[in-house]
């Protein structure tokens, strides 16, 4: 065993333990997935999707393309770590394969090759490999320098806040930071004796020649091995777990697995796939506007993972979806939040018995659409009023379903984790909707729209009024004039990021006015602050968030700000005198007579 020395033991033990733990955890999580998730995954394993997943895993887990997009410096840091280390292992392995003439040499040989290398043995490309390995090492080291800088001066990355870490994280982080400098020193020291280094290690080795290298070399290799061991042992319990879990997540997601409405193995995989990069902190309006910086997705996920989640953290979120949009790993943190808000103790009673059963009232006339204004529209009366005018202009017969009394769609309850209660409301509304034979439902509220499309499973078509107006215009059922007033458009969270409806409202607005662009729009639009998902936020903070949204919308100095959500309209209206209208109103005003 001339390729063995006791110092390889820590590394070997660390690696073996790590892979045992990883295997156990992955199996556990996969088994914890619920039935539908398992069947979906199995159904798609042997398909083109798997290949796509491989490509995505390479792109995201090695190259970190998504982080690159949001923040190139941060992206480079992740790239140098992941890809650099990956190359060190792969090239190292190829090098030793050439050296020992077999792929099945001792697996630690590639890691500690310079120490064991017999310089009298020559093999093809040895010089090239040496230089390549040094280049990779330099690549990784550059990442470490950036990481150290980030930890202490996150501002130069354009990041206002960086994540606060746990003790275990800090140990793992320190050992991780030590690994590569130690490797550099160990290899350089060996190079000083054996002259087997590349451009980096040999140069450094030559500098070290004056030192008693024979006494230093071995301890350095020991330290290198121990650093690796520590990192591997702690890894499953730290944020570095994301390195492997992210890959698993990529595959599962490509196979079509999604969050259900309860905590499953898939949830655990998502939780562990978070690298705590902190990108979500900077996009969260609670942080940027209200200075609340302990509730963001990264902290929510961390606390959920370690079982230290408090009500304050779980409930203090607008669910505006900006963090999900920005997350490089694509973790559905708002859905997980909804799951974690579940309040079992309130879920076992009969609720809302006061709502009368549907009356057997036949909708006698042939009607084309059901109009559901939604709760909020009743206090933004101009929206249903404008819709009435539009229906009349298009000669559409409609049934105003909630003219006198509204049963809430149930989404606000869902968001607070009150599933059973939401279910009751959904039943009541479904009965009412299906009591007519009308095939199209138009709603003015994005919250209701999301609920009707995603939670109701209605057998009829559901449209938000922006979509419906767009259709009326396209079909020529209403004719509109293009006025020359300048408008900007506020994408409501639930309609934009929530339902991906960006084009219809813009199409409508181009038809009736001059639409100006704003800095933050479409998937980057800002929340109005009133989002119902948050029950913790007080008015003062909501106002700060709203003001940021108003500033964004009024920056190009429009005549009117347009939105398509009654709640957003209320929020913006409550701000300083800004002229705000719903999209239905501006269309109504510009209908050609």
């Amino acid at each position: 065993m001339n390729n063995f020395h006791p110092f390889v033991l820590p590394f070997t033990i660390g690696t073996v333990v790590l892979f045992i733990i990883l295997f156990a955890l992955f199996v556990k999580w996969l088994l914890q997935m619920d039935k539908t998730q398992k069947t979906t995954a199995l159904k798609n394993i042997i398909s083109f999707k798997t290949l796509k997943a491989v490509w995505e895993a390479v792109r995201e887990c090695l190259f970190h393309r998504n982080i690159f997009r949001t923040n190139p410096v941060l992206g480079y840091m992740h790239l140098s770590f992941a890809f650099g280390w990956f190359l060190l292992i792969v090239i190292g392995k190829i090098e030793t394969t050439f050296y020992s003439g077999t792929f099945w040499d001792e697996f630690w040989l590639a890691i500690f090759f310079r120490f064991f290398e017999d310089t009298s043995v020559t093999f093809s490309g040895s010089e090239l490999f040496t230089q390549l390995m040094d280049a990779c090492l330099l690549f990784v080291l550059s990442g470490i320098v950036l990481a150290v800088i980030k930890r202490f001066y996150s501002k130069i990355y354009g990041m206002k806040k960086t994540t606060k870490h746990t003790i275990v994280d800090k140990i793992a982080l320190t050992s991780l930071w030590c690994i590569f400098p130690l490797r550099l020193l160990a290899e350089s020291a060996t190079a000083g004796i054996k002259h087997n280094g590349g451009f980096l290690t040999q140069s450094l080795g030559n500098l070290l020649v004056g030192l008693p290298l024979e006494h230093i070399t071995l301890p350095l290799w020991w330290m290198y091995s121990i650093a690796l061991c520590l990192f591997f042992l702690f890894m499953p319990f730290t944020r570095y777990m994301h390195i492997f879990t992210e890959m698993l997540l990529v595959f599962l997601r490509k196979w079509g697995v999604t969050e259900n409405n309860q905590k499953t193995g898939y949830t655990n995989i998502e939780l562990n796939a978070c690298s705590r990069c902190g990108i979500c902190i900077d996009v969260c309006p609670l942080n940027t506007e209200a200075g609340i910086n302990n509730v963001q997705s990264v902290y929510f996920i961390k606390n959920t993972r370690y079982g230290t989640l408090t009500k304050e953290i779980a409930d203090n979120c607008l669910m505006c979806g900006r963090c999900v949009q920005a997350c490089p790993v694509g973790i559905e943190s708002t859905l997980i939040r909804q799951i974690m808000r579940k309040k079992e103790c309130f879920n076992n009673k009969d609720y809302y018995q006061y709502i009368p059963d549907k009356e057997e009232k036949q909708i006698s006339e042939e009607k084309e659409v059901i109009y559901f204004a939604g709760c909020m529209s009743h206090i933004t009366v101009s929206i249903p009023e404008a819709m009435k005018h539009i229906f009349a202009a298009a000669n559409v017969k409609y049934w105003y379903m909630d003219e006198n009394e509204t049963i809430c769609c149930g989404r606000p309850l869902m968001q607070q984790g009150l599933d059973k209660q939401a279910e009751t409301l959904r039943q009541k509304n479904t009965e009412k909707i299906l009591s007519s034979s009308i095939r199209t439902l138009v709603t003015s509220c994005p919250i209701c729209y999301k609920s009707f499309t995603e939670e109701y499973h209605l057998p009829i078509e559901v449209l938000h009024h922006t979509q419906y107006i767009d259709r009326l215009i396209r079909q020529g059922r209403i004719k509109v004039n293009r006025s020359d007033i300048k408008v900007t458009y506020h994408d409501p969270c639930e309609l934009g990021r929530g339902c991906k409806i960006y084009e219809e409202p813009r199409h409508v607005l181009h038809a009736v006015a001059e639409l100006m662009n704003v800095k933050m729009e479409k998937e980057n639009s800002l929340c109005c602050g009133y989002n119902l998902a948050n029950t913790q936020l007080e008015l003062e903070d909501q106002m700060k968030i709203r003001n940021a949204a108003i500033n964004n919308l009024t920056a190009p100095k429009p005549d009117t700000v347009i939105t398509s959500c009654p709640m957003c309209k209320r929020a913006l209206q409550h701000g300083i005198n800004v002229n705000i209208k719903d999209i239905a109103e501006i269309v109504d005003e510009n209908i050609a007579k």
Binding site: I379, T380, V381, L539, M543, R570, Q573, H574, I576, N577
Partner: protein
């Protein structure tokens, strides 16, 4: 001649009263008013609470007292103000430039824009009006709905834009409670058959003869006061307004259809007031101007030579504004004398 001892921005009650006093002190005084004539919001009012004194008479009274030392510029909006040198102020309007040794701000207030409280339907339903529009009807002696009917039922809603944290106005506007009482009496005298309802959160009859007027409105004019805030208004097919509220004393929801729905709009800092408060960085949290000290130097500011009077500081009643104009004139007198 463009140089004056004092320039007063705003010719409302406070500005006029200060001008009277300053004129009597023999100071060359200039009032810059953006409207067609001086008088401020007084010109929009018919009679004043609590004694139904004629606003027009008060205005004539004030105008009569202005002496030859006072010049008046109307339809001139202030474009810029500069503290050009120590003790020297320059005011620019569209047409000219004027300078003075002291500057008095009496730029007053504006009514809250009721469209910001969309649930009340102002600007959407024709028969939802503000207290200002009702006052104009009273002044004309003719109260009708928009479609020309004689109203049978009228509802008043207090605190529209005041005491409302949602629109950022946490304060009470002082005048609206008693104003609704006054207006309901006047309306009843014009329309003896009308039924009137006044919805309030708290009724603040803070002054002598105020409470008495409230009592009279109940006893003699049978106005019904309902403790509860209206939350929604909707139009019926015949353009009447259906309102929903809660009778909080009975803890019961309430529905009522009226012919006219009057919103008692609160007071906000006027545009000029906001402009000045930002320009000199003496704005309070609502955009009103902040005086140096509320008790002993309420007409002075942190800036030398800059004085304040009336509702540019906070909501006030007319008598209080007049007294504040007096006080400002006295403060300016002291300042110019000791200069």
């Amino acid at each position: 001649m463009n140089h004056f001892d004092v320039i007063i921005i705003g010719g409302g009650p406070a500005g006029m009263q200060a001008a009277i006093r300053l004129g009597n002190f023999n100071y060359k005084t200039l009032i810059i008013e953006k409207e067609k004539s001086i008088g401020g919001k007084l010109t929009q009012w018919d009679k004043l609470f609590p004694d139904f004194y004629s606003a027009e008479e008060l205005l004539q009274n004030l105008t009569r007292q202005l002496n030859e030392n006072v010049s008046i510029l109307t339809e001139q909006e202030v474009k810029d103000i500069e503290n050009t040198s120590e003790n020297e102020w320059t005011v620019k309007t569209a047409d000219g430039q004027y300078s003075s040794k002291a500057l008095l701000i009496a730029s007053g207030y504006d009514f809250f824009n009721a469209k910001r409280k969309e649930e009340f339907g102002y600007g959407i339903y024709p028969n939802v009006i503000t207290s200002v529009e009702l006052e104009a009807m009273i002044k004309n002696g003719k109260i009708t709905t928009l479609d020309g009917r004689i109203p049978q039922k009228i509802a008043y809603l207090q605190c529209v834009g005041s005491r409302d944290e949602k629109v950022g106005n946490h304060y009470c506007s002082i005048n609206c409670c008693i104003c609704a009482v006054k207006q309901s009496i006047e309306v009843k005298e014009l329309l003896p058959d009308v039924e009137q309802y006044c919805f309030y959160m708290d009724l603040r009859m803070a002054g002598q003869h105020y409470e008495e007027l409230y009592r009279t409105s109940q006893e003699k004019y049978h106005v019904q006061f309902i403790r509860g805030r209206i939350s929604e208004a909707a139009s019926t097919f015949d353009n009447r307004i259906q309102i929903k509220a809660e009778n909080t004393l009975l803890s019961t929801p309430l529905k009522l259809t009226v012919d006219l729905f009057v919103l008692m709009v609160g007071m906000e800092a006027s545009e000029t007031t906001r402009f000045i408060s930002q320009k000199f960085n003496i704005s309070n949290e609502y955009g009103f101007l902040q005086s140096k000290q509320r008790y002993c130097s309420d007409n002075e500011t942190e800036i030398k030579g800059l004085f304040l009077a009336g509702t540019c500081k906070r909501p006030m009643t007319i008598p209080k504004s007049l007294k504040d104009g007096d006080a400002a004139a006295n403060a300016i007198f002291d300042y110019l004398k000791n200069r």
